[in-house]
Symmetry: C2
């Protein structure tokens, strides 16, 4: 809760309250449950106010995404000196956080909404979601990878490609499966460990990590 003066749609407290209710409705019942009448009833506001504040239904959806993005601020990591161990630790924390975020109720509901809408509206919502929701976590990962490379702990030519590799190792098809309604993983930490071990085997400077995959130690 710091006074962050970044770029802001910045809604009033009342509007934030309404948006929170809107998210709740969306999470509980999908986009069919998010009707203007229903939201007005649930949030104790009038439909007229909704249209005055957000323009139309699409404006409301966009506002919900912006609102959620405003809530999920990610910490900038301290500038400690990286060791092989601390890098691995940071990568695993990142992996766990990523899995946590992707499997969150609100994230899933918003992604489902944007996916469902993406055929008709020229994927406006999808773009918004990727922009707002992904930029933070992407930056964090890229900073981490850059620091790793600068410290001589990681090797790669294309940071973007390496990040996509890391992302794929962490998430695989879990995101889509969860979007389709499958329950998430039982153990995010284990998945994070394995993904990071594989990533270090591919892009780590030391080769010994290459054996980690075969041993696959339980934690």
């Amino acid at each position: 809760m710091i006074g962050d003066a970044s770029q802001m749609p910045e809604f009033t407290p009342r509007q934030n309250e309404v948006l929170e209710q809107a998210l709740r409705l969306l999470v509980q019942g999908g986009d069919k449950a998010l009707t203007t009448s229903g939201l007005a009833r649930a949030a104790n506001c009038s439909k007229e106010s909704l249209y005055k504040w957000f323009g139309d239904r699409d404006g409301l959806l966009a506002a919900m995404i912006a609102h959620q993005a405003n809530k999920v601020r990610t910490f900038e990591r301290g500038k400690e000196r990286l060791t092989a161990e601390s890098l691995r630790e940071h990568l695993e924390v990142f992996a766990r956080d990523l899995l946590e975020v992707l499997s969150g109720d609100i994230s899933l509901a918003l992604n489902r909404l944007a996916v469902g809408q993406s055929g008709r509206d020229g994927s406006k919502l999808g773009k918004l979601l990727l922009e707002h929701g992904r930029r933070q976590i992407d930056r964090r990962a890229m900073a981490l990878m850059d620091a790793g490379k600068r410290a001589g702990l990681l090797r790669f030519d294309d940071a973007d490609a390496a990040y996509h590799t890391l992302y794929g190792l962490i998430v695989s098809d879990l995101h889509v499966r969860m979007l389709l309604g499958e329950p998430g993983l039982k153990d995010n930490a284990r998945q994070a460990e394995r993904a990071v071990a594989a990533f270090l085997a591919l892009h780590g400077a030391r080769q010994e990590s290459g054996e980690a995959m075969r041993l696959s130690p339980g934690r």
Copy 2:
């Protein structure tokens, strides 16, 4: 109703024709464009026939998935002897095919539909889609991996985990991005190459492939 032992719903030619039109409508305009009236008009059939054949709208959607799954049969691979090179080639073909399938119009439209529906119906469609659409390609990959291991070309403890690793390396977040409306890759082949190189670096028996990532040769 002759003794075809396999488990397919098996629609009549007329019904398949209607389902094809339904898929066309879905691809073009998303689920809002797939209305019973619209489908009846587009397919020159009556709404009453639609309800007689498929029960209700959900039945129609399920039938569309089954119909599409019936179309996408994957070849069982011949039992040639595997070498390191042929394994790599097979893996790359698999990767390209996977990317091709996932970025297909109909696949994307059906996945969008199932994702949008997955909040309300207990993810019935999502299960159907994963079941019908994924089983074929999963089996093909697992057979390939098993053959690779048996030939001493691949090393892993858990075939399922290794397959998920391969899948993540190939697809990363591409599927979700495409579902959200982003255009697909320009070059599937390049992505397939890189993913397979990384996979072999992790699970291949020969270590020399580990260097492939750093050199990252052009095609």
